[in-house]
Subunit: 348 residues, 4 copies
């Protein structure tokens, strides 16, 4: 193994990122060393790059950022039992403590002492990375690397849809980004009979349509779409899955949700907003389910089943591929406000 | 039977109510005529009396208002099958259409064409009242009338607590009014191991304590109660039941709710307010359950079981009793801002 | 309307059935009169025809038997509110009392005073039939009559599969009769990633395959299929849906069910049999769900959604069609032990 | 620490057990060494002692048997993170592999590679024992040792009752042994409104009564108890918890279970028996839940809450206490067919 590696880093408390050559990390007793095969860019990475409020409060440079990846195991720590050199791994990116109440009751993805790969500890925008054994998900060797690395964000959508119980139901997916597109695919696969997709960008709405949306609504251009949906569904969809999170998205979502319906909240609003809990939740007898991360590892078994069986094909969500050496160019594509994109993948 | 009866009515579009003598109502084919034995005053009745915005938009005088009651069946319509003259009835006050999606899927209390006794149709602050057969709940003749008539609001608390799954858990009940007090009693009966009760009025906090609250918090007087609760519970209570609904109550509730906890929303805020959905629901992986009315009639079987077995004694929640002829005096007591009260019951 | 009608009847306490001309039935206050458009033959009808032990204990000739049907409303009783003359109806065939604990808690299909159309009261193998309003399901006029009439048995499969929570899971459907075939179709539609179908008749296994089974196992001919399934699934399927009910079916089902799996029991064994509750249920931490009838009317809304959206096409399950005047010939086909059949439909 | 310790051992493939002096065990990297403070005798230990069929197939002498215990940590392996020397521990006795499907989806108590303390590996009837870190449950130092050591079997009852959802319901606990007695206590604490307890031994029925049973039925002496229960409950109890497992217990249980009720199966029958799945499960729309072990560690948090709050006092279930040096005498008491006993506890 080489002594040094190329890594995309947040070196300064300012907008931007830099490529740097740094020493390879060393796995601790319960960690493995991965040679990264592919990685992809998440919204979180954009916050870090853009150095927004959240990033300023959370990130401590210097940091190798990035968390969506797959790779080959090059070395394992002495306490590692279930993973061996040569295994083909995708990283679950929530690192649990294993000992708190949440970890010991089936919710380690919401660990009370959670740290996140590429946020709280060095991540995977690099040629090599270390990952704890508990976060290793073993892939079949036949799985293409660009699919393997986006299983983590795909898992967010799988978790959201599986908690929403959409079989034989009419649903709305709010948001047209990668997670919205994944959610359309999963909802179609597990039996939603009609999928309304609300978004703002024609390029992305089209990807969601390819993934399974039956009706695409461009909320910037269309009017009266709430009334139209309420009318077609005789009082509202059974389930709303909100992958956008902002005030308008949430407002649209509850407006088109029927009485006793389910609103599943994955999207993150940048700030609090005015909300009518009485009308939206109480009088409707509605349920709201907050989703963060992925169930470890219920969601991963589900996503494997969906991919292996061909019930969901997630390739349409990959809009761009770059070699890792073009990382900065890839990142500019991902954050461009003029060129639309979905999932941007880098391969080694 | 007499030709006329005494009734408490909303005769004008203005603050107040009046006693009037009016003809007895006549049951339709699927209705029964009740001779009222006892009735009680609900927050909804106060809105109607006070002629606030909600009342101005919803209520069409002249109207006999009131909905919490019990009585004896004097006459049954020709299509009535399960109720007979002489039966001792408490009225479920949500009148369902029986034919919509909600009615046909186990949620008739959230009927899409719902009307409410004493709100949309003439109610029960009167010597006689008509009630649809489907809303009749038959009581054991031994049940005291003042208990029988408050089963309906008690049912709100039973529904709230039973949906919240509190067994072996630490919970908070927010609000110290009658429904909060009932909720403390039910939570204690079905196994909550610690009940924090947050309220504002010493008289009412004391009733909640009698009903089962382990820790009473007067949010007007105490400071740092959030931190104290978070500390004692190692990160928050498992379940919050909000019977108050206003911004501060909701804010307190989510602040003291642990990750992956359940927030059950029964209280009604008079207006929308700023809410942090990302922090409160998404990052926590929390669940929110909206509660309106009572399950028809799952909740009623549960409340009968709780009362019959002596697991809950709801008498402490009755703070005042009046004869029905003193209705206006009773109402003044119920809405007084100087004299505290809980449930005010009128007997015939 | 005519005064007399043709009906298929059980006139004597013996094997067989007869066609007879009898007076048209008259709807009671809460009933409707249907002109039957199509009907189909159920296993229950075969028991009645064959006059087996169950039939001898339950059936009181003379009786118009049959319960799966659709028809046009010709007349409504005076208390009927939601149905009008001309409506196109499929009958739910469980007639609830509406007043018992089960009826009042969302389980009227398991009413404590249940009677069944064509079993306990005159049924629908006739030109006209009466059905209570509460059992009427209104169809879209575009729905073909042969599809409309088999919605009731299709509903059994929809209920079974929806309770089994099969999304993203590997499942087994045991039994290759019409309900097994329907279950394969529903399981595929709501996201089962692999469907094993165990049966005994090549003709029927092929129908199940058309409906969605991925792997067909002829248990008469194949050996070691249990081991093969256990091996392919790494320890067993997630869900078994037993539509057969006999000892071998149940034994197969638990043998191929993984730990913490779900076994959904719809099939009816003619007699008790030896069962290993410790190995099958306790040590596995398994769940068993008994299914009888259809949820009234949750299941009907689900099946409408599945049919309307085209997610399930149930036409392959109809193996034979006859005019109603050939009823006896149709019945011989349905009970033939030499000519295989699935659903046999009669049209008027 | 001493070099040798006293242990109760299964040394030969025959009935009985022997006290022996053996070297102290050494903890592996992820294990801790406990100085045992108290231990108690389980039904499993009796099978091992009696050398019955199950024991002959499973147990490989020489073996230190026993699994219910508490102790103080004397030494921790180098990979242990959450436990330190001096901690006061109760052992969860199901040792999971941590890497199989069950372990990774919240069911490590049903691990596909499970081994059990004192059955598959050396147990705790000894002065010292080693336990994996993952099986350590840290107690408050104030918890008496005889309570701490029986938390494991108490946990079986907690798991059974919590899965059975008994709040505001009428229930039956079948079996009057220690787990039945614990179940009565938990059911009472979490809101069962009426608890029928079926058993055979007056001494044990009385303990169950002290724990919370409302009605004790001695099935050996009483007749028509099924009819009486069906009558008093208007058609059967809502929930049956079977802690006995034999054919008669199961038969009683389903006979007194209402339609759509829940049957929770914890008891283990020594052999298969004739069972009427159609009548018991299918026609009733019943649910059956298999229970084995305890949820790791949801159940432990629940049992701590129940004990700490005083909602359940489990001391009445301890019928006998002995010093560990009297182990063989204690064991004779536990297996005596003439002297009744409940939980037999040994202290060091």
């Amino acid at each position: 193994m080489p002594e040094k590696m190329l890594a995309a880093m947040k070196l300064r408390k300012a907008v931007g990122a830099e490529m740097a050559e740094i020493p390879l990390p060393r796995p601790k007793a319960d960690e493995v060393l991965l040679k990264i095969k592919a990685c992809s860019i998440c919204g979180t990475d954009k916050h870090i790059y853009n150095w927004d409020n959240w990033a300023q409060n959370r990130i401590k440079p210097p940091l190798v950022f990035g968390h969506e990846c797959c790779g080959e195991v090059m070395e394992v720590g002495p306490a590692v039992k279930s993973i061996k050199v040569g295994d083909y791994i995708t990283a679950e990116t929530h690192i649990p403590c294993l000992h708190c109440f949440q970890c010991r009751t089936g919710n380690m993805h919401l660990c009370q002492n959670l740290s996140i790969l590429g946020v709280d500890v060095d991540g995977i925008f690099a040629e090599y990375a270390v990952v704890p054994e508990v976060c290793c998900w073993k892939n079949d060797t036949a799985l293409p690397v660009e699919i393997a690395c986006i299983q983590e964000p795909f898992g967010n959508a799988v978790y959201t849809v599986m908690e929403s119980n959409v079989g034989a139901k009419k649903v709305a997916v709010i948001g047209d980004g990668p997670t919205g597109a994944f959610a359309c695919g999963v909802a179609r696969a597990v039996g939603a009979v009609k999928i309304y997709n609300l978004g703002m960008i024609p390029f992305n709405l089209e990807i969601c349509r390819k993934m399974g949306a039956d009706v695409s609504v461009n909320v910037v251009e269309e009017k009266n779409y709430r009334e139209k949906i309420l009318d077609e569904t005789n009082g509202g969809v059974d389930v709303v899955m909100d992958m956008a999170g902002n005030k308008n998205a949430v407002s649209d979502g509850f407006a088109i949700l029927r009485r006793t319906g389910t609103f599943t909240a994955f999207g993150i609003a940048p700030a609090p907003f005015e909300f009518d809990m009485a009308q939206n939740i109480v009088f409707k007898g509605a349920r709201v389910i907050g989703i963060n991360g992925r169930k470890m590892f219920d969601t991963w078994y589900q996503l494997r089943n969906l991919l292996d069986s061909g019930k969901v094909d997630i390739r349409p969500v990959i809009s761009h591929k770059f070699p890792f050496t073009d990382f900065l160019k890839a990142f500019e594509t991902a954050i461009s406000t003029t060129t639309p994109s979905a999932k941007v993948v880098l391969t080694m």
